[in-house]
Point group: C2
Chain length 247, copies 2
Protein backbone atom coordinates (compact mmCIF):
# COMPACT_ATOMS: atom_id res chain seq x y z
CA UNK A 1 0.00 0.00 0.00
CA UNK A 2 1.86 3.05 -1.20
CA UNK A 3 1.19 6.65 -0.42
CA UNK A 4 1.90 8.90 -3.36
CA UNK A 5 2.61 12.59 -3.22
CA UNK A 6 0.48 14.45 -5.68
CA UNK A 7 1.16 17.89 -7.00
CA UNK A 8 -2.06 19.91 -6.81
CA UNK A 9 -2.13 23.52 -7.91
CA UNK A 10 -5.05 25.60 -6.72
CA UNK A 11 -6.00 28.84 -8.40
CA UNK A 12 -7.56 30.97 -5.69
CA UNK A 13 -8.53 33.69 -8.13
CA UNK A 14 -10.57 31.27 -10.20
CA UNK A 15 -14.35 31.20 -9.78
CA UNK A 16 -14.12 27.41 -9.64
CA UNK A 17 -14.54 26.33 -6.02
CA UNK A 18 -11.37 25.09 -4.36
CA UNK A 19 -12.88 21.74 -3.41
CA UNK A 20 -13.85 21.19 -7.03
CA UNK A 21 -10.41 22.11 -8.35
CA UNK A 22 -8.89 19.62 -5.94
CA UNK A 23 -11.37 16.94 -6.89
CA UNK A 24 -10.75 17.44 -10.57
CA UNK A 25 -7.00 17.32 -10.16
CA UNK A 26 -7.25 14.06 -8.26
CA UNK A 27 -9.64 12.62 -10.84
CA UNK A 28 -7.20 13.62 -13.55
CA UNK A 29 -4.34 11.96 -11.75
CA UNK A 30 -6.39 8.79 -11.42
CA UNK A 31 -7.31 8.96 -15.09
CA UNK A 32 -3.74 9.45 -16.36
CA UNK A 33 -2.13 6.91 -14.05
CA UNK A 34 -0.34 9.25 -11.65
CA UNK A 35 -2.56 7.77 -8.98
CA UNK A 36 -2.84 4.08 -9.79
CA UNK A 37 -5.66 1.89 -8.53
CA UNK A 38 -5.10 0.94 -4.93
CA UNK A 39 -2.93 3.94 -4.12
CA UNK A 40 -3.50 5.53 -0.77
CA UNK A 41 -3.78 9.28 -0.49
CA UNK A 42 -2.19 11.30 2.28
CA UNK A 43 -4.56 11.66 5.18
CA UNK A 44 -7.04 14.51 5.27
CA UNK A 45 -5.16 16.53 7.83
CA UNK A 46 -1.94 16.32 5.82
CA UNK A 47 -3.69 17.17 2.56
CA UNK A 48 -5.34 20.17 4.17
CA UNK A 49 -1.97 21.31 5.47
CA UNK A 50 -0.18 20.78 2.15
CA UNK A 51 -2.83 22.56 0.14
CA UNK A 52 -3.51 25.34 2.60
CA UNK A 53 -7.16 24.34 2.81
CA UNK A 54 -9.40 23.60 5.73
CA UNK A 55 -10.09 19.98 6.42
CA UNK A 56 -13.83 20.19 5.64
CA UNK A 57 -12.94 21.59 2.23
CA UNK A 58 -10.62 18.66 1.60
CA UNK A 59 -13.34 16.33 2.80
CA UNK A 60 -15.79 17.84 0.39
CA UNK A 61 -13.45 17.21 -2.53
CA UNK A 62 -12.85 13.64 -1.45
CA UNK A 63 -16.53 12.96 -0.84
CA UNK A 64 -17.31 14.18 -4.31
CA UNK A 65 -14.95 11.58 -5.71
CA UNK A 66 -16.23 8.90 -3.35
CA UNK A 67 -19.71 9.57 -4.70
CA UNK A 68 -18.36 9.12 -8.20
CA UNK A 69 -16.86 5.81 -7.22
CA UNK A 70 -13.25 6.85 -7.78
CA UNK A 71 -12.15 6.82 -4.13
CA UNK A 72 -12.97 4.71 -1.10
CA UNK A 73 -12.50 5.78 2.50
CA UNK A 74 -12.09 3.76 5.65
CA UNK A 75 -12.06 5.13 9.17
CA UNK A 76 -8.75 4.54 10.89
CA UNK A 77 -7.08 3.54 7.64
CA UNK A 78 -7.31 6.27 5.06
CA UNK A 79 -8.49 7.10 1.57
CA UNK A 80 -7.62 4.95 -1.38
CA UNK A 81 -8.10 4.98 -5.11
CA UNK A 82 -10.73 2.41 -5.94
CA UNK A 83 -9.47 -0.74 -7.54
CA UNK A 84 -11.14 -1.31 -10.84
CA UNK A 85 -12.51 1.11 -13.35
CA UNK A 86 -15.68 3.08 -13.32
CA UNK A 87 -16.46 2.86 -16.96
CA UNK A 88 -19.66 4.73 -17.47
CA UNK A 89 -21.57 6.60 -14.80
CA UNK A 90 -25.34 6.72 -14.61
CA UNK A 91 -26.39 9.99 -16.18
CA UNK A 92 -29.32 11.66 -17.79
CA UNK A 93 -28.10 11.69 -21.35
CA UNK A 94 -29.52 11.14 -24.77
CA UNK A 95 -28.36 8.62 -27.35
CA UNK A 96 -26.77 11.48 -29.26
CA UNK A 97 -24.74 12.46 -26.18
CA UNK A 98 -23.78 8.82 -25.61
CA UNK A 99 -22.60 8.20 -29.14
CA UNK A 100 -20.62 11.36 -29.28
CA UNK A 101 -18.93 10.58 -26.01
CA UNK A 102 -18.05 7.19 -27.39
CA UNK A 103 -16.22 8.92 -30.19
CA UNK A 104 -18.78 8.16 -32.85
CA UNK A 105 -20.34 10.62 -35.26
CA UNK A 106 -24.08 10.37 -34.81
CA UNK A 107 -26.30 11.41 -37.68
CA UNK A 108 -30.00 11.99 -37.58
CA UNK A 109 -32.67 11.70 -40.19
CA UNK A 110 -35.89 13.38 -39.17
CA UNK A 111 -38.77 11.39 -40.57
CA UNK A 112 -41.40 13.70 -39.20
CA UNK A 113 -41.89 16.56 -36.78
CA UNK A 114 -45.45 17.61 -36.30
CA UNK A 115 -47.96 18.81 -33.77
CA UNK A 116 -50.61 16.20 -33.15
CA UNK A 117 -53.41 15.74 -30.63
CA UNK A 118 -52.12 13.75 -27.68
CA UNK A 119 -53.37 10.20 -27.47
CA UNK A 120 -54.53 8.92 -24.11
CA UNK A 121 -51.27 7.24 -23.07
CA UNK A 122 -49.01 10.07 -24.20
CA UNK A 123 -51.33 12.61 -22.59
CA UNK A 124 -51.16 10.67 -19.37
CA UNK A 125 -47.40 10.72 -19.11
CA UNK A 126 -47.02 14.31 -20.30
CA UNK A 127 -49.65 15.42 -17.81
CA UNK A 128 -51.95 17.03 -20.36
CA UNK A 129 -55.52 16.34 -21.36
CA UNK A 130 -56.08 13.83 -24.14
CA UNK A 131 -56.33 15.65 -27.46
CA UNK A 132 -54.06 18.49 -26.35
CA UNK A 133 -51.65 19.42 -29.10
CA UNK A 134 -48.19 17.91 -28.54
CA UNK A 135 -45.08 17.86 -30.63
CA UNK A 136 -44.30 14.44 -32.07
CA UNK A 137 -40.87 13.56 -33.44
CA UNK A 138 -39.89 10.56 -35.47
CA UNK A 139 -36.23 10.10 -36.25
CA UNK A 140 -33.64 7.55 -37.23
CA UNK A 141 -30.26 7.76 -35.59
CA UNK A 142 -27.26 6.62 -37.60
CA UNK A 143 -23.74 5.77 -36.53
CA UNK A 144 -20.93 4.81 -38.91
CA UNK A 145 -23.36 5.23 -41.74
CA UNK A 146 -25.71 2.56 -40.42
CA UNK A 147 -29.11 3.00 -38.83
CA UNK A 148 -28.85 2.37 -35.13
CA UNK A 149 -32.14 3.36 -33.58
CA UNK A 150 -35.65 4.50 -34.35
CA UNK A 151 -36.66 7.31 -32.05
CA UNK A 152 -40.13 8.55 -31.24
CA UNK A 153 -40.51 11.48 -28.88
CA UNK A 154 -43.41 13.56 -27.66
CA UNK A 155 -43.02 16.95 -26.09
CA UNK A 156 -45.52 19.44 -24.78
CA UNK A 157 -46.31 21.81 -27.59
CA UNK A 158 -44.48 25.08 -27.39
CA UNK A 159 -42.11 23.80 -24.76
CA UNK A 160 -39.24 24.28 -27.15
CA UNK A 161 -38.93 25.56 -30.68
CA UNK A 162 -37.53 22.54 -32.45
CA UNK A 163 -36.81 22.31 -36.14
CA UNK A 164 -35.75 19.39 -38.25
CA UNK A 165 -32.52 21.23 -39.02
CA UNK A 166 -31.66 21.62 -35.36
CA UNK A 167 -32.51 17.99 -34.61
CA UNK A 168 -30.20 16.88 -37.37
CA UNK A 169 -27.31 18.83 -35.99
CA UNK A 170 -27.69 18.20 -32.26
CA UNK A 171 -29.21 15.78 -29.82
CA UNK A 172 -32.64 16.44 -28.36
CA UNK A 173 -31.43 16.79 -24.78
CA UNK A 174 -28.74 19.18 -25.89
CA UNK A 175 -31.35 21.30 -27.63
CA UNK A 176 -33.66 21.25 -24.63
CA UNK A 177 -30.84 22.22 -22.32
CA UNK A 178 -29.83 25.10 -24.55
CA UNK A 179 -33.34 26.54 -24.26
CA UNK A 180 -33.02 26.57 -20.48
CA UNK A 181 -34.90 23.38 -19.72
CA UNK A 182 -33.48 21.83 -16.58
CA UNK A 183 -33.97 18.10 -16.86
CA UNK A 184 -33.79 16.50 -13.49
CA UNK A 185 -35.51 13.12 -13.22
CA UNK A 186 -36.17 10.46 -15.80
CA UNK A 187 -38.13 7.29 -15.33
CA UNK A 188 -37.06 4.71 -17.82
CA UNK A 189 -38.04 1.22 -18.75
CA UNK A 190 -35.75 -1.02 -20.73
CA UNK A 191 -36.99 -4.10 -22.47
CA UNK A 192 -36.75 -6.15 -25.63
CA UNK A 193 -39.04 -7.31 -28.40
CA UNK A 194 -38.99 -8.26 -32.02
CA UNK A 195 -39.17 -5.70 -34.78
CA UNK A 196 -42.30 -5.00 -36.73
CA UNK A 197 -41.92 -5.14 -40.51
CA UNK A 198 -41.91 -1.32 -40.69
CA UNK A 199 -39.25 -1.04 -38.02
CA UNK A 200 -37.14 -3.72 -39.63
CA UNK A 201 -37.25 -1.90 -42.91
CA UNK A 202 -36.29 1.44 -41.42
CA UNK A 203 -33.46 -0.12 -39.42
CA UNK A 204 -32.28 -2.28 -42.30
CA UNK A 205 -32.69 -5.47 -40.36
CA UNK A 206 -34.60 -8.65 -41.11
CA UNK A 207 -38.16 -8.95 -40.00
CA UNK A 208 -38.59 -10.14 -36.40
CA UNK A 209 -35.04 -9.23 -35.41
CA UNK A 210 -34.52 -8.50 -31.69
CA UNK A 211 -34.75 -4.87 -30.61
CA UNK A 212 -33.65 -3.31 -27.38
CA UNK A 213 -36.38 -0.94 -26.27
CA UNK A 214 -36.34 2.07 -24.01
CA UNK A 215 -39.31 4.10 -22.90
CA UNK A 216 -38.38 7.15 -20.92
CA UNK A 217 -40.21 10.12 -19.46
CA UNK A 218 -38.10 13.05 -18.40
CA UNK A 219 -39.15 15.71 -15.89
CA UNK A 220 -37.69 19.10 -15.18
CA UNK A 221 -36.77 20.39 -11.76
CA UNK A 222 -40.33 21.55 -11.19
CA UNK A 223 -41.62 18.06 -11.87
CA UNK A 224 -43.13 18.91 -15.24
CA UNK A 225 -42.78 16.32 -17.96
CA UNK A 226 -40.57 17.76 -20.66
CA UNK A 227 -40.33 14.79 -22.95
CA UNK A 228 -41.56 11.28 -23.45
CA UNK A 229 -39.57 8.98 -25.66
CA UNK A 230 -40.01 5.53 -27.06
CA UNK A 231 -36.87 4.30 -28.70
CA UNK A 232 -35.90 1.01 -30.29
CA UNK A 233 -32.33 0.03 -30.98
CA UNK A 234 -30.88 -2.65 -33.22
CA UNK A 235 -29.72 -5.20 -30.68
CA UNK A 236 -27.11 -6.32 -33.18
CA UNK A 237 -25.50 -2.89 -33.06
CA UNK A 238 -26.17 -1.40 -29.69
CA UNK A 239 -26.19 -2.20 -26.00
CA UNK A 240 -26.51 0.01 -22.97
CA UNK A 241 -23.45 0.15 -20.79
CA UNK A 242 -23.45 1.70 -17.39
CA UNK A 243 -21.58 1.54 -14.11
CA UNK A 244 -23.50 1.30 -10.86
CA UNK A 245 -21.77 2.64 -7.81
CA UNK A 246 -22.96 1.83 -4.32
CA UNK A 247 -22.55 4.84 -2.08
Amino acid sequence: MTVTKLDIDLDRSSPVPLYFQMAERIAEAIQNGELPSGTRLDNEVQLADQLGLSRPTVRQAIQYLVDKGLLVRKRGVGTQVVHGQVKRAVELTSLYDDLRRAGQQPETRVLSIETVPAEEDVAGVLGVAPGTPVLRLERIRYASGEPLALLHNWLPAGAASLTAEALQARGLYELLRSTGVRMRVANQRIGARTATPAEARLLEERRGCPLLTMVRTTYDDQGRAVEHGSHVYRASHYALEVTLVER
Copy 2:
Protein backbone atom coordinates in the same frame (compact mmCIF):
# COMPACT_ATOMS: atom_id res chain seq x y z
CA MET B 1 -45.17 27.60 -3.07
CA THR B 2 -45.91 26.65 0.51
CA VAL B 3 -43.55 26.23 3.39
CA THR B 4 -44.55 23.45 5.73
CA LYS B 5 -43.51 23.06 9.31
CA LEU B 6 -42.24 19.59 9.98
CA ASP B 7 -41.94 17.93 13.33
CA ILE B 8 -38.52 16.31 13.60
CA ASP B 9 -37.46 14.51 16.76
CA LEU B 10 -33.77 13.89 17.20
CA ASP B 11 -32.41 11.31 19.60
CA ARG B 12 -29.07 12.61 20.72
CA SER B 13 -28.29 9.46 22.70
CA SER B 14 -28.69 7.30 19.61
CA PRO B 15 -25.59 6.14 17.76
CA VAL B 16 -27.29 7.18 14.56
CA PRO B 17 -25.74 10.44 13.37
CA LEU B 18 -27.94 13.49 13.76
CA TYR B 19 -27.74 14.41 10.10
CA PHE B 20 -28.90 10.95 9.17
CA GLN B 21 -31.82 11.02 11.61
CA MET B 22 -32.91 14.32 10.12
CA ALA B 23 -32.56 13.03 6.58
CA GLU B 24 -34.57 9.93 7.34
CA ARG B 25 -37.33 11.87 8.98
CA ILE B 26 -37.63 14.15 6.00
CA ALA B 27 -37.57 11.21 3.61
CA GLU B 28 -40.34 9.61 5.67
CA ALA B 29 -42.40 12.76 5.53
CA ILE B 30 -41.98 12.90 1.77
CA GLN B 31 -42.92 9.24 1.49
CA ASN B 32 -46.08 9.49 3.62
CA GLY B 33 -47.32 12.75 2.12
CA GLU B 34 -46.58 15.11 5.03
CA LEU B 35 -44.23 16.87 2.64
CA PRO B 36 -45.96 16.85 -0.72
CA SER B 37 -44.10 17.27 -3.99
CA GLY B 38 -43.24 20.88 -4.59
CA THR B 39 -43.29 21.85 -0.91
CA ARG B 40 -40.59 24.21 0.21
CA LEU B 41 -38.67 23.53 3.39
CA ASP B 42 -37.75 26.20 5.91
CA ASN B 43 -34.40 27.70 5.10
CA GLU B 44 -31.25 26.11 6.44
CA VAL B 45 -30.65 28.69 9.12
CA GLN B 46 -34.18 28.31 10.45
CA LEU B 47 -34.03 24.53 10.38
CA ALA B 48 -30.74 24.58 12.23
CA ASP B 49 -32.26 26.90 14.82
CA GLN B 50 -35.44 24.83 15.22
CA LEU B 51 -33.57 21.56 15.54
CA GLY B 52 -30.73 22.82 17.67
CA LEU B 53 -28.22 21.74 15.06
CA SER B 54 -25.42 23.55 13.31
CA ARG B 55 -26.07 24.65 9.79
CA PRO B 56 -23.42 22.36 8.21
CA THR B 57 -25.11 19.42 9.90
CA VAL B 58 -28.46 20.46 8.42
CA ARG B 59 -26.77 20.90 5.07
CA GLN B 60 -25.35 17.42 5.27
CA ALA B 61 -28.80 15.96 5.84
CA ILE B 62 -30.27 17.93 2.98
CA GLN B 63 -27.40 17.09 0.64
CA TYR B 64 -27.91 13.43 1.38
CA LEU B 65 -31.50 13.75 0.19
CA VAL B 66 -30.52 15.88 -2.79
CA ASP B 67 -28.18 13.09 -3.80
CA LYS B 68 -31.06 10.66 -3.57
CA GLY B 69 -33.14 12.87 -5.80
CA LEU B 70 -35.78 13.67 -3.18
CA LEU B 71 -34.91 17.36 -2.71
CA VAL B 72 -33.70 20.16 -4.96
CA ARG B 73 -31.90 23.29 -3.82
CA LYS B 74 -31.53 26.66 -5.42
CA ARG B 75 -29.33 29.47 -4.24
CA GLY B 76 -31.34 32.52 -3.22
CA VAL B 77 -34.61 30.58 -3.31
CA GLY B 78 -34.55 27.62 -0.96
CA THR B 79 -34.95 23.88 -0.77
CA GLN B 80 -37.92 22.10 -2.24
CA VAL B 81 -39.29 18.61 -2.42
CA VAL B 82 -38.73 17.37 -5.95
CA HIS B 83 -41.81 17.41 -8.15
CA GLY B 84 -42.55 14.07 -9.62
CA GLN B 85 -41.85 10.67 -8.32
CA VAL B 86 -38.57 8.94 -8.05
CA LYS B 87 -39.88 5.51 -8.80
CA ARG B 88 -36.85 3.34 -8.67
CA ALA B 89 -33.40 4.54 -7.77
CA VAL B 90 -30.26 3.23 -9.41
CA GLU B 91 -28.90 0.65 -7.04
CA LEU B 92 -26.67 -2.34 -6.90
CA THR B 93 -29.27 -4.99 -6.47
CA SER B 94 -29.93 -8.44 -7.75
CA LEU B 95 -33.00 -9.68 -9.56
CA TYR B 96 -34.05 -11.43 -6.37
CA ASP B 97 -33.89 -8.12 -4.48
CA ASP B 98 -35.81 -6.39 -7.26
CA LEU B 99 -38.59 -8.90 -7.42
CA ARG B 100 -39.02 -8.99 -3.70
CA ARG B 101 -39.18 -5.23 -3.53
CA ALA B 102 -41.85 -5.33 -6.21
CA GLY B 103 -43.94 -7.52 -3.94
CA GLN B 104 -43.37 -10.70 -5.87
CA GLN B 105 -42.27 -14.02 -4.46
CA PRO B 106 -39.16 -15.03 -6.34
CA GLU B 107 -38.29 -18.70 -6.52
CA THR B 108 -35.06 -20.20 -7.67
CA ARG B 109 -34.21 -23.51 -9.23
CA VAL B 110 -30.52 -24.26 -9.13
CA LEU B 111 -29.59 -26.17 -12.26
CA SER B 112 -25.97 -26.51 -11.34
CA ILE B 113 -23.39 -25.20 -8.90
CA GLU B 114 -19.89 -26.43 -9.54
CA THR B 115 -16.27 -25.46 -9.49
CA VAL B 116 -14.86 -25.31 -12.99
CA PRO B 117 -11.65 -24.09 -14.58
CA ALA B 118 -12.13 -20.49 -15.68
CA GLU B 119 -12.37 -19.96 -19.40
CA GLU B 120 -10.41 -17.13 -20.95
CA ASP B 121 -13.20 -14.55 -20.94
CA VAL B 122 -14.43 -15.30 -17.44
CA ALA B 123 -10.87 -15.39 -16.15
CA GLY B 124 -10.29 -12.01 -17.68
CA VAL B 125 -13.17 -10.31 -15.96
CA LEU B 126 -12.62 -12.06 -12.62
CA GLY B 127 -8.95 -11.15 -12.71
CA VAL B 128 -7.64 -14.68 -12.40
CA ALA B 129 -5.49 -16.83 -14.66
CA PRO B 130 -7.29 -18.94 -17.24
CA GLY B 131 -7.89 -22.39 -15.86
CA THR B 132 -8.12 -21.18 -12.27
CA PRO B 133 -10.97 -22.89 -10.45
CA VAL B 134 -14.05 -20.68 -10.23
CA LEU B 135 -17.53 -21.30 -8.95
CA ARG B 136 -20.12 -21.48 -11.71
CA LEU B 137 -23.83 -21.14 -11.01
CA GLU B 138 -26.70 -21.86 -13.33
CA ARG B 139 -30.18 -21.01 -12.09
CA ILE B 140 -33.68 -20.27 -13.25
CA ARG B 141 -35.56 -17.54 -11.48
CA TYR B 142 -39.34 -17.91 -11.23
CA ALA B 143 -42.00 -15.38 -10.37
CA SER B 144 -45.70 -16.17 -10.06
CA GLY B 145 -44.88 -19.74 -10.87
CA GLU B 146 -43.42 -18.86 -14.26
CA PRO B 147 -39.80 -18.88 -15.35
CA LEU B 148 -38.56 -15.34 -15.67
CA ALA B 149 -34.85 -15.47 -16.20
CA LEU B 150 -31.94 -17.80 -16.78
CA LEU B 151 -28.99 -16.81 -14.64
CA HIS B 152 -25.36 -17.73 -15.06
CA ASN B 153 -22.85 -16.48 -12.53
CA TRP B 154 -19.18 -17.01 -11.95
CA LEU B 155 -17.46 -16.26 -8.67
CA PRO B 156 -13.89 -16.65 -7.52
CA ALA B 157 -13.63 -20.04 -5.89
CA GLY B 158 -13.73 -19.88 -2.13
CA ALA B 159 -14.97 -16.32 -2.10
CA ALA B 160 -18.14 -17.45 -0.46
CA SER B 161 -19.52 -20.75 0.71
CA LEU B 162 -22.60 -21.06 -1.43
CA THR B 163 -24.94 -23.99 -1.45
CA ALA B 164 -27.89 -24.79 -3.66
CA GLU B 165 -30.10 -24.63 -0.61
CA ALA B 166 -28.99 -21.12 0.27
CA LEU B 167 -29.37 -19.95 -3.33
CA GLN B 168 -32.91 -21.24 -3.38
CA ALA B 169 -33.84 -19.31 -0.29
CA ARG B 170 -32.08 -16.00 -0.90
CA GLY B 171 -30.67 -13.88 -3.65
CA LEU B 172 -27.00 -14.07 -4.56
CA TYR B 173 -26.20 -10.51 -3.55
CA GLU B 174 -27.93 -11.00 -0.25
CA LEU B 175 -25.81 -14.07 0.39
CA LEU B 176 -22.62 -12.28 -0.60
CA ARG B 177 -23.45 -9.34 1.63
CA SER B 178 -24.15 -11.60 4.58
CA THR B 179 -20.65 -13.07 4.30
CA GLY B 180 -19.17 -9.59 4.62
CA VAL B 181 -18.54 -8.90 0.94
CA ARG B 182 -18.86 -5.21 0.30
CA MET B 183 -20.03 -4.78 -3.25
CA ARG B 184 -19.25 -1.35 -4.50
CA VAL B 185 -19.07 -1.00 -8.27
CA ALA B 186 -20.74 -2.93 -11.03
CA ASN B 187 -20.19 -2.54 -14.75
CA GLN B 188 -23.19 -3.72 -16.64
CA ARG B 189 -24.20 -4.10 -20.24
CA ILE B 190 -27.81 -4.46 -21.29
CA GLY B 191 -28.78 -5.76 -24.65
CA ALA B 192 -31.21 -7.97 -26.49
CA ARG B 193 -31.07 -11.06 -28.65
CA THR B 194 -33.12 -14.06 -29.59
CA ALA B 195 -33.26 -17.18 -27.48
CA THR B 196 -31.36 -20.29 -28.34
CA PRO B 197 -33.42 -23.49 -28.43
CA ALA B 198 -32.05 -24.53 -25.02
CA GLU B 199 -32.85 -21.16 -23.48
CA ALA B 200 -36.33 -21.15 -24.97
CA ARG B 201 -37.03 -24.56 -23.52
CA LEU B 202 -35.82 -23.62 -20.04
CA LEU B 203 -37.78 -20.38 -20.09
CA GLU B 204 -40.90 -21.98 -21.59
CA GLU B 205 -40.90 -19.67 -24.57
CA ARG B 206 -40.91 -20.35 -28.26
CA ARG B 207 -37.66 -20.66 -30.11
CA GLY B 208 -36.19 -17.35 -31.25
CA CYS B 209 -38.22 -15.30 -28.80
CA PRO B 210 -36.66 -11.96 -27.77
CA LEU B 211 -34.59 -11.93 -24.61
CA LEU B 212 -33.39 -9.00 -22.61
CA THR B 213 -29.78 -9.63 -21.67
CA MET B 214 -27.62 -8.32 -18.90
CA VAL B 215 -23.95 -8.97 -18.39
CA ARG B 216 -22.60 -7.55 -15.17
CA THR B 217 -19.32 -7.68 -13.30
CA THR B 218 -19.39 -6.59 -9.68
CA TYR B 219 -16.38 -5.41 -7.68
CA ASP B 220 -15.90 -5.01 -3.96
CA ASP B 221 -14.58 -1.90 -2.30
CA GLN B 222 -11.01 -3.07 -2.85
CA GLY B 223 -11.67 -3.39 -6.55
CA ARG B 224 -11.65 -7.16 -6.58
CA ALA B 225 -14.18 -8.81 -8.84
CA VAL B 226 -16.63 -10.67 -6.66
CA GLU B 227 -19.02 -11.90 -9.30
CA HIS B 228 -19.63 -12.02 -13.00
CA GLY B 229 -23.10 -12.64 -14.24
CA SER B 230 -24.72 -13.27 -17.58
CA HIS B 231 -28.47 -13.20 -17.31
CA VAL B 232 -31.24 -13.47 -19.87
CA TYR B 233 -34.81 -12.45 -19.17
CA ARG B 234 -38.02 -13.26 -20.97
CA ALA B 235 -38.78 -9.96 -22.65
CA SER B 236 -42.44 -10.88 -22.55
CA HIS B 237 -42.36 -10.96 -18.76
CA TYR B 238 -39.70 -8.56 -17.61
CA ALA B 239 -38.32 -5.11 -18.18
CA LEU B 240 -35.82 -3.06 -16.24
CA GLU B 241 -37.20 0.04 -14.64
CA VAL B 242 -35.04 2.69 -13.14
CA THR B 243 -35.12 6.37 -12.30
CA LEU B 244 -32.21 8.56 -13.30
CA VAL B 245 -31.67 11.64 -11.22
CA GLU B 246 -29.42 14.45 -12.34
CA ARG B 247 -27.40 15.79 -9.45
